[in-house]
């Protein structure tokens, strides 16, 4: 585990890497996203855990993304994600539709080192009909006719997210946002931005230890105050709804998107 700059954090991402990203309400590293937009790798493959919003939208908008697996991409109350919708419609990205619990289950399969995980539901959907990597098998534990879907494990190359704090050992406090732990467990390596680094071990007391992702999963950490903006970061700050609405309106046109992006990339990270 090492501490690096946000730009160094994303420098290790290679074309074709499968990157796990959290939903907008969980802990999105918009700081790392900004670094990727400035000078990132192309041909990234994203797996949203299980949905994404502004992060996938921006990376798709600038053409960094070759493939996206997600249960949904949306800007929430601010509305649909225009660059995503446009890219899918015009087949500029390979879209693999899924459903939320299928992403969680497939990551848990990787976390547990099992090749697949069953999931109820899905039968009769057009999602299943177009997923040639999923299998429908008879439930071997009953004599009744009981088809069930098997999902192959998803083992990302990288988990990329933002968290409130880390200690100097590289333990990261994620609180009850445990999808971040599942992402990290399932991924080969985790790249994390944090609001701050605290003194003392987060594992020293049972109270704080309960919310920790241990350092053994973490490859590198960058300090990025307000690194989730304009999205929120747990109880530290809320999403900036005004900015998100501004983006949603701007991004309906290519020019508006470019203008907003210029603002976002030009913005010097606010140091707390």
């Amino acid at each position: 585990m090492r501490f690096v700059s946000t730009q160094e954090l994303v420098a290790g991402l290679a074309p074709g890497d499968l990157i796990a990203i959290p939903p907008d309400y969980s802990g999105v590293s918009m700081a790392a996203t900004r670094a990727l937009l400035r000078a990132g790798s192309d041909e990234l493959r994203l797996i949203a855990v299980p949905t994404s919003g502004l992060q996938a939208e921006l990376l798709i908008g600038v053409g960094r993304v070759a493939e996206l697996e997600a249960a949904a991409v949306s800007l929430g109350e601010a509305g649909p994600a225009p660059r995503f919708a446009d890219a899918v419609r015009n087949r500029r990205i390979r879209m693999r539709d899924t459903t939320c619990p299928a992403v969680h289950a497939a990551l848990q399969a990787a976390e547990k080192g099992i090749p697949f995980m069953p999931l109820r539901g899905l039968l009769g959907t057009d999602i299943l009909a177009h997923r040639d990597d999923w299998r429908v098998v008879p439930n071997p534990f009953t004599k009744a006719d009981d088809p069930i879907v098997l999902l192959p494990a998803i083992a990302p190359d990288v988990a990329l997210f933002h968290a409130p704090r880390a200690d100097r050992d590289g333990n990261v406090w994620i609180g009850r946002r445990r999808e971040l732990a599942t992402m990290a467990h399932a991924s080969r390596r985790s790249l994390v931005t944090v609001e701050e680094v605290v003194e003392g071990s987060l594992l020293a007391h049972e109270e704080s230890a309960a919310g920790v992702l241990p350092a053994m999963y973490v490859e590198a950490i960058a300090v990025a105050p307000r690194g989730a903006w304009p999205l929120g970061c747990q109880d530290l700050y809320d999403a900036d709804d005004v900015e998100l609405a501004r983006y949603a309106a701007a991004a309906r046109s290519a020019d508006g998107f470019a203008a907003w992006l210029e603002m976002f990339l030009g913005r010097t990270e606010v140091l707390a």
Binding site: P80, R89, P101, R120, L123, D126
Partner: protein, 245 residues
């Protein structure tokens, strides 16, 4: 009546209809992009202490096992009710959250995606469908893409499914064995003819469908004094529309 007043009346009818369908529910979850169901669920909490689990909220959210816990409690049978919408909802209660056109390679319009619907629609006992915009376009005979089917063959494990569809014009009940909607009530300002004209699918209807009852004065007071503030945490823009202007 102004457009705003009409919208407010329509919204009140929807809220009241959803609230009625939640009666008896002890645990209610609310997914993403669901301000109206969220408000109804918080009313259920205020009125009879229903447990509300609202995605995107910190205050109305006792989950501690990450994003999967909603799906896990549904699988465990701990969840009584959930809400789904769709870019399209058809007469068989199939929902479409994927897009308009030919899926996957010939879409004219792309929707956000299925979220958890392709799973929760199968396992939650009471799924209440909602779609404010009630037009032939949004409620067609048949959805372009099935992100989740309204019914399943008997051999498919499916303890859950749709019970009702609440729109900006009316309330439909859903008969799972028949696989059809039937009209339960019309919102103020609608009649049998206007409803047929606005609905793309066929449905059963009595000649004397009642008018959807609104919220009680007590419900209005609860919204004003408590629920508007509570929903504002997750849906600030929607909450503003609930507050008296």
């Amino acid at each position: 009546m102004s457009r705003d007043a009409q919208a407010a009346r329509r919204r009140e009818a929807m809220l009241a209809a959803i609230l009625r369908r939640l009666e008896g529910c002890r645990t209610i979850a609310v997914g993403a992009s669901s301000p109206l169901p969220g408000t109804a669920a918080l009313l259920a909490r205020a009125k009879w202490g229903a447990r509300v689990l609202m995605l995107g909220s910190r205050r109305h959210n006792s989950f501690t096992d990450g994003g999967r816990e909603l799906f896990d409690i549904a699988a465990q049978g701990r969840l009584d009710a959930f809400f789904l919408s769709g870019g399209q909802i058809d007469g068989s209660a199939n929902i479409n959250l994927l897009g308009i056109g030919s899926y996957p390679d010939g879409l004219i319009q792309r929707f956000p995606g299925s979220f958890g619907s392709a799973y929760l629609y199968f396992v939650v006992p009471k799924v209440i469908l909602f779609r404010e915009e009630h037009e032939r376009r949004t409620l067609p005979e048949r959805v372009d893409v099935v992100s989740a089917p309204g019914t399943s063959p008997a051999h498919v494990h499916r303890p859950g499914g749709p019970v009702a569809l609440v729109t900006g014009r009316c309330v439909f009940g859903f008969d799972r064995s028949a696989g059809r909607f039937s009209l339960e009530s019309l919102h103020p300002g609608e009649d049998a003819g206007s409803l047929r004209a606005a609905t793309g699918f066929d449905y059963d209807a009595r000649d004397d469908a009642p008018v959807t009852e609104g919220l009680s004065e007590a419900d209005h007071a609860l919204i004003r004094d408590r629920v508007a503030d509570e929903i504002a945490e997750t849906y600030p823009r929607f909450a503003a529309t609930l507050r008296p202007t």
